[in-house]
């Protein structure tokens, strides 16, 4: 299932945050949205998943979601959004219960996604007992449990320290390699974008417009540290963003 954004514009009151964004998100690829802070990239992600309504334009699903898909558009949030009163197991079971999946069937799904995120030993732990990286892995497991057609990832690694971030990036790469998924990945971190993205969309500062789209053909699992081509791409992205980022940084927030 592909997603097409057709001339999306959005404003909060008089403040225009997004202007005329048209974009295709093809199946099986990771599309990264990068841009200076406040450029509306998280807003765009909320629009794609239907958590907010765009002022103008349409978001279209092309094709039908794959068989067994419970929640086609599934988020992974920056702050994990785990229920602190439910165990790891319970947090994943939460999103299955409403689809009437209980008992053995639910157990099988939960065991599978916990194994894929290397959390099998922690199914009874409460979120407060887990480290940040493990919490985000639980959130990813929860997202995988509903077999999403598109994963909408809102700065999933931004709340983590840099070592954990590296480890989780490896995890995401190996998850994708074993079973390619479609994702829209919002980040302000260019290193994450060149590591995980097949297509990188650079947004300008507010009102966010598409400044450039950079394609990276190299397969995800082949992208390591000190890769010259990737570093060049990252530098190119930073050149695109630097002035925007500086200007965005000097704006007052409530104008």
């Amino acid at each position: 299932m592909d997603i097409r954004l057709d001339a999306i514009s959005h404003s909060y009151g008089d403040t225009e945050v997004l202007r005329d964004i048209s974009l295709d998100i093809p199946t099986g690829r990771v599309v990264c949205l990068v841009g200076p802070s406040g450029c509306g990239k998280s807003t765009l992600l909320r629009l794609i998943g239907g958590l907010e309504r765009a002022t103008k334009g349409h978001i279209l699903q092309l094709g039908t979601p794959p068989e067994g898909c419970l929640n086609p558009l599934t988020y992974v949030f920056q702050d994990f959004a785990l229920l602190p009163w439910r165990s790891v197991w319970g947090n994943i079971s939460l999103v299955l219960e409403d689809h009437g999946i209980k008992g053995a069937h639910a157990n099988a799904i939960i065991a599978d996604v916990l194994a894929r995120t290397r959390l099998s030993d922690f199914s009874h732990a409460l979120p407060r007992q887990l480290s940040g990286g493990m919490k985000q892995r639980v959130a990813i497991a929860r997202a995988l449990a509903v077999k999403p057609a598109v994963m909408l990832m809102d700065e999933p690694l931004s709340a983590l320290d840099s070592q954990t971030r590296e480890l989780l990036m490896d995890d995401l790469v190996s998850l994708w390699t074993r079973q390619p998924f479609t994702a829209v990945y919002v980040t302000h971190n260019l290193a994450e974008a060149v590591r995980l993205g097949h297509r990188i969309v650079v947004l300008s500062r507010r009102p966010g417009e598409i400044r450039d789209i950079v394609e990276i053909d190299r397969p995800l699992e082949g992208r390591g540290h000190g890769d010259r081509a990737l570093e060049d791409t990252q530098r190119h992205l930073w050149d695109l963003m630097r002035d925007e980022a500086r200007a965005a940084d000097e704006e007052l927030l409530d104008v």
Binding site: W85, E97, L126, P127
Partner: protein, 269 residues
């Protein structure tokens, strides 16, 4: 920083990070009680506190013993406890229900916030005659008074607690297409539970206060009736015996809620 020549003596850095971290000291509370009782006993025995000011603790204990032996204790305690239980249960469950609705629906909130603000400061005791007219002089008016008194603080606590539930968790629920009812039951209510329980602490204490008020009219038996009767006769021993029962009730209720908190909110700490 770097004086040439004479090196100053090293000084140990002064510790200044202490305090502001309350720790549980279980026995201090008990010691305070014991000391106060011993002082009262000693004072009344030596005549330093006149028996008109304060009854002797041992006499209060003796009165308590008589009350127990004559079987009157249960006769007073059972109707009081059932009034307390029924009244507080009605008040608290309505309070939690309305509070959740106020937290969820903006129309309900806009309509009831001023109403609750208007009702809250009314001394519910003043409304007892009204309740007697509405519900009769029997048990119903006593339930109503206690229920009404517990309702308002519960509503305020619940609605504040629902308001404080992490919005990002609700967003998460919506993003996974949970039904409205599931979001309320599995996210909003458990998230509001800490606030609701601490509100219950206050409203149940208020229920005990109102128990005495409710038994002012048309009650033959009951702790409140017993205290009021002793009070009008200036029988301080019996008055104190009754008051001690109420205090013990308060402590027991607070301990029960503490226990519930520890079970239900195990996920916090």
């Amino acid at each position: 920083m770097s004086d040439i020549g004479a090196k100053p003596e090293p000084i140990e850095v002064r510790f200044r990070g202490g305090g502001f971290a309350p720790k549980p000291h279980r026995w201090i509370g008990v010691i305070v009680f014991v000391v106060l009782i011993i002082v009262a006993e000693w004072g009344t025995r030596s005549g330093w506190i006149s028996p008109l000011t304060l009854p002797r603790p041992s006499d209060v204990l003796a009165t308590f013993g008589e009350l127990w032996e004559s079987g009157l204790l249960l006769k007073h305690l059972v109707p009081s406890l059932s009034r307390l239980a029924i009244g507080a249960a009605i008040g608290a469950s309505f309070g939690i229900g309305v509070g959740i609705l106020m937290g969820l629906f903006s129309y309900v909130r806009a309509g009831s916030v001023p109403l609750v603000a208007a009702i809250f400061p009314i001394p519910k005791i003043a409304l007892l005659p009204l309740f007697v007219i509405w519900f009769g002089i029997d048990e119903a008016s006593k339930y109503a008074l206690i229920a009404f008194g517990t309702f308002t603080p519960t509503v305020v606590a619940t609605y504040g607690a629902v308001d404080n539930v992490d919005r990002s968790l609700i967003r998460m629920g919506q993003s996974f297409d949970l039904s409205w009812f599931s979001i309320v039951r599995k996210i909003v209510v458990p998230g509001a539970m800490p606030g609701i329980l601490s509100g219950l602490r206050i409203s149940l204490s208020i229920a005990i206060i109102l128990l005495v008020a409710a038994e002012m009219l048309g009650a033959e038996y009951g702790i409140g009736a017993y205290i009021l009767e002793a009070g009008s006769l200036y029988d301080l021993e019996r008055l104190f015996a009754g008051v001690v029962i109420l205090s013990v009730l308060g402590v027991l209720l607070s301990m029960t809620i503490g226990l519930i908190e520890r079970r239900v909110l195990r996920w916090r700490s």
